[in-house]
């Protein structure tokens, strides 16, 4: 029997506000433990939360960017559970009445576009962090992260493959980055993802028993964990065994998921409306202000790249799927305004380089202006395309500008027709047989002559010019 996977993601994004969601403490990452705390975020007796307006604005931006319906009135609720990193013994979140619902995100996988529903987006506070001692059976608590604003984005169970799940998460991350409301760092946990996954026979419409997977802190782990889980569940189902409803943890070192807790051990969070906060009201006017403040989003930028720069849909899609890459592209254009050439270069050379290093464009040492200069030098005929690739590789490792590299390595192209013609005459004189072949119709021999010229000039001859010269001399 063939099975299909049913996957839904719960994504938590830390918002880049200056201060925490319910107090004035700073949110900077990496500060010494417990230096960004106050009586409110430490949950000290008698203190009360006051909602950060910026956090709401950031959440509303995401809601609008993902086409959600924003609730005119939403309610904060307490999620009750005991843990040392949760100072109040409850997390302030939203439950029955979230900030926004019924949105969607379009994703592209293998050239096919799918619309994935977004169930809801709500605001909540982050918990602290436990630090376990290596030497003693003791744990410490760092409350710096306690109260950092989060949005939780819950998808409909409409993803069908690990690739779609990755594309969806990439799409969300990209929008967060475009909006500038989250730094999208999966490794550091400013963007977190849990997955719900079940299998069902193809054609079946009812859902199978779902398993929740946690602890996937990269796109690769998300894909691997889902692939693993599909294999695991399929094997169980084929043996006629039952899937247990449980929460499982992804172990990246072992490449497997492990049971963390079963359904029976699941928490009863005893949600109820937080009496310390009043309902959050979002007026039409406020929402309109936010809508007007939205930056250009990926879909719109793709359309603009096609219309303004005449790029094919594929190129425009690849470039805008990463805000930093699209920004880089446009920065190169500022120096060298030939969109298709810049796009070609980025799609081929730059992306190959990034893939090799598994890095983002931010870590590329080549400044956009320098890449623009390099392409301009090719255009002017100062260097050949082949040379440009060599220069680019140098730029990637050294970070130097193209002119310096070309000068130091003596890579300038010889475009002086007179100088080249003299050498071409010598080559022809030395190879009478080949000249005869050419004249007998074997015009392919032209490549041989150009090659000889390249050899003599150590590759510095302008290849187009060399071709022309040989063709002219042989025609004489």
């Amino acid at each position: 029997m063939d099975y299909e996977a049913v996957i839904g993601l719960e994504v938590h994004a830390q918002l880049l506000t200056e201060s925490k969601i319910f107090c004035g403490c700073a949110t900077r990452f990496g500060a010494p433990p417990n230096t960004q705390v106050c009586p409110v975020c430490l949950g000290m007796p008698g203190t009360l939360p006051v909602l950060n307006r910026r956090a709401v604005e950031f959440a509303l931006k995401m809601a609008l960017a993902t086409h959600c319906r924003v609730a005119p009135e939403s309610v904060f609720a307490r999620k009750n559970y005991f843990y040392p990193d949760l100072p109040k013994g409850y997390q302030i979140s939203q439950y029955e009445r979230p900030l926004a619902e019924h949105g969607y995100l379009d994703i592209q996988v293998n050239g096919t576009s799918r619309r994935i529903g977004i169930t809801r987006i709500h605001l909540e506070e982050d918990a602290g962090k436990l630090i376990h001692s290596d030497t003693r059976p003791v744990s410490f608590v760092d409350f710096n992260r306690t109260g950092v604003p989060l949005i939780e984005i819950v998808s409909e169970p409409e993803l069908r493959t690990p690739e779609e799940a990755v594309a969806y998460l990439q799409g969300l991350r990209n929008i967060l980055l475009y909006l500038g409301i989250c730094d999208g760092n999966l490794e550091e946990g400013s963007l977190r993802c849990d997955a719900n996954i079940s299998l069902r026979p193809v054609g079946e419409t009812a859902f199978g028993t779902k398993v929740e997977i946690k602890n996937m802190n990269s796109f690769r782990f998300l894909r691997q964990a889902l692939e693993y889980e599909i294999r695991r569940q399929r094997a169980l189902l084929l043996e006629g065994r039952e899937i247990l409803q449980e929460t499982r943890l992804w172990d990246a070192a072992k490449g497997q998921t492990f049971s963390m807790r079963g359904k029976e051990e699941a928490h009863d969070y005893r949600y109820f409306p937080d009496p310390d906060l009043v309902p959050l009201k979002v007026s039409d006017a406020w929402l309109e202000d936010i809508r007007r403040s939205l930056p250009e989003l990926p879909a719109a930028r793709t359309r603009r790249f096609m219309e303004e720069y005449g790029l094919p849909e594929y190129d425009a899609g690849v470039l805008t799927a990463d805000k930093a890459l699209a920004d880089y592209f446009e920065a190169v254009l500022a120096t060298f305004p030939r969109p298709k050439q810049v796009s070609n270069w980025i799609m081929a050379e730059v992306l190959r380089e990034l893939k090799k290093e598994e890095a983002g464009i931010a870590s590329l040492k080549v400044a956009p202006r320098d890449l623009g200069r390099l392409l301009a030098l090719v255009e002017e005929g100062a260097i050949s395309g082949k040379m440009a690739k060599m220069v680019f590789e140098d730029m990637v490792t050294s970070g130097r500008d193209p002119e310096t590299i070309i000068r130091e390595r003596g890579l300038t192209q010889i475009s002086d027709a007179g100088a080249l013609e003299a050498q071409a005459r010598e080559i022809l004189a030395a190879h009478p047989k080949e000249v005869a072949d050419y004249r007998a119709g074997k015009t392919k021999v032209l490549g041989f002559f150009v090659g000889q010229l390249m050899k003599r000039t150590k590759g510095q001859a302008n290849p187009q010019l060399a071709n022309e010269i040989f063709r002219k001399l042989l025609a004489d």
Binding site: M44, P45, L48, R270
Partner: protein
């Protein structure tokens, strides 16, 4: 002479301080010495801050000398030990917080500090304000100054006893289901629960957040108006505090009540109300009528469900509010061999039986499968109770009735029977559920010599008309002038 200073109302003492007839230091010493003499048998105070009080008195004196004093400058107050005081331990009458020293002031404390008040110390309460007799205090009960073998009521029993016994000029308490009005009634003093949101809750250690409200316990109605003026108003640190402008409460006191309609809820004077209480309240109503008010019978049909709804909503909120006492960050920690054991030991030893009972009740009311039947149903009942009051206030300016069904009961009498204790709050609880202002003002004595209070209720933000009516009644009677035999 010094005991005479202690007996003065806030209004009178304030006048004398402003006139320079007495000094804040003199007054403070008088109180410290009286507390020393009398509190051993009453046990109203949990902490007497003699040093702090003397410092504040000295500062107040300098301020008055510069002519910069206000009506509260140099006035000695006692604070219910559930209000956070910077640098002064705040226990909630619980082992859990027996050594807890907040690094911040409650907003009300900060405002009174600003006004130049003197804080004599922190007074007793039921543990975490959970109780109606001050008997659940982990540090022992407070005695009723009128009869030592009776409770002062609760949970602000320390506040009421201290005001009644002239161990402070006035006090701040908190009222979640009657915790200001009931002890005020039982101790023969004035107790005002303002409209929910009128006074900031920041720094009031939460019992049930949607019901808790801070208010004054005083010797006279004018004192309550003065104190409310000082503590009322929007606080950016409390999202539930109201932005409505603060009226001049003392200015409302002179207004006549002739022409006001006083509603008398049928449900508040029926079965289960002690005949002596009924009689005192009926006489009080007649007094109001004599002052020109029109009496009108009204009905609050959902009153009988109020106690049940309250004990679901208040305990649900409490179960969550008190989760923070886990032995991890502050307060008591009783270490176990692992995290769970530390939680269990800390919370078992840190909380008394009544607090544990309410945490369990509230946890149950919020649990999966019970939420709809309990918490949600109770919230619906709460809405119906509000509607009852809305209907009554459509035709009435205020409502009046008893505060409690009986005068103060004996120590130990109801402690073993929590349900009976809970039911004694039947007339005060609906007010909290609806967020209304209400006051208890002395209206008589039982044959045994125990005080009885009249409760006057107003519509939301009707704190002025409540004070106005209570003041008119007080001026027409002399119950507030009686002093307990000490």
């Amino acid at each position: 002479m010094s005991d005479e200073l202690c007996r003065l109302s806030l209004t009178d003492l304030s006048r004398r301080l402003q006139a320079g007839e007495v000094s804040p230091m003199e007054v403070t010493e008088a109180f410290l010495s009286r507390i020393e003499r009398l509190d051993g048998s009453l046990r109203a105070y949990l902490t007497v801050d003699a040093r702090g009080a003397r410092e504040q008195a000295r500062a107040a004196q300098a301020r008055l000398a510069r002519g910069e004093g206000g009506p509260l400058t140099g006035i000695p107050l006692a604070l219910k030990d559930i209000l956070a005081t910077r640098g002064l331990r705040t226990t909630c009458a619980s082992q859990m917080l027996a050594a807890f020293v907040p690094p911040y002031d409650a907003t009300v404390v900060a405002r009174l500090r600003e006004a130049g008040a003197v804080f004599l110390g922190k007074v007793n309460l039921d543990e975490f304000a959970m109780g109606s007799s001050t008997e659940t205090s982990a540090f022992g009960p407070t005695h009723n100054p009128w009869q030592r073998d009776c409770t002062p009521g609760g949970s602000s029993g320390g506040s009421a006893a201290a005001v009644a016994a002239d161990l402070c000029t006035a006090s701040l308490g908190s009222d979640t289901g009657g915790s200001i009005r009931q002890p005020a009634s039982h101790c023969g003093v004035v107790g005002l629960k303002p409209t929910y949101g009128r006074v900031s809750r920041f720094g009031l250690i939460a019992y049930a957040s949607s019901l808790d409200q801070i208010g004054p316990l005083t010797k006279e109605v004018r004192d309550a108006a003065l104190l409310l003026s000082a503590i009322a108003g929007h606080d950016p640190k409390d999202s539930t505090s109201l932005r409505a402008p603060v009226p001049d409460y003392p200015a409302a006191l002179g207004r006549e009540i002739a022409g006001l309609t006083v509603g008398v809820p049928r449900e508040y004077l029926g079965e289960g109300v002690d005949p002596e209480v009924q009689e005192a309240v009926r006489r009080a109503l007649a007094t109001l009528e004599g002052l020109g008010a029109r009496l009108a019978e009204v009905s609050l049909p959902h009153t009988e469900y109020a106690v049940a709804a309250y004990y679901l909503i208040a305990t649900a909120e409490a179960s969550s509010n008190l989760a923070r006492y886990d032995g991890v960050k502050y307060g008591l920690r009783v270490a176990g061999k692992n995290l769970l054991e530390t939680y269990l030991r800390t919370r078992t030893q840190g909380f008394g039986p009544e607090v544990r009972r309410r945490i369990m009740l509230g946890t149950y009311a919020l649990s999966a499968g019970y939420y709809e039947a309990y918490y949600r149903k109770a919230s619906q009942v709460r809405a119906l109770i509000r509607r009852d009051f809305d209907a009554a206030f459509a035709t009435c300016d205020v409502l009046a009735g008893p505060v409690a069904p009986t005068p103060a009961f004996r120590l130990g009498e109801k402690l073993a029977d929590p349900l009976t204790m809970y039911l004694s709050d039947i007339f005060t609880i609906p007010v909290n559920l609806a967020g209304l202002p209400a006051i208890s003002v002395p209206c008589g004595f039982s044959r045994a010599g125990l005080p009885i209070g009249l409760q006057i209720l107003g519509p939301p933000l009707g704190d002025e008309v409540v004070l106005q009516t209570a003041y008119a009644f007080e001026q027409a009677t002399d119950f507030h002038r009686h002093k307990p035999p000490l």
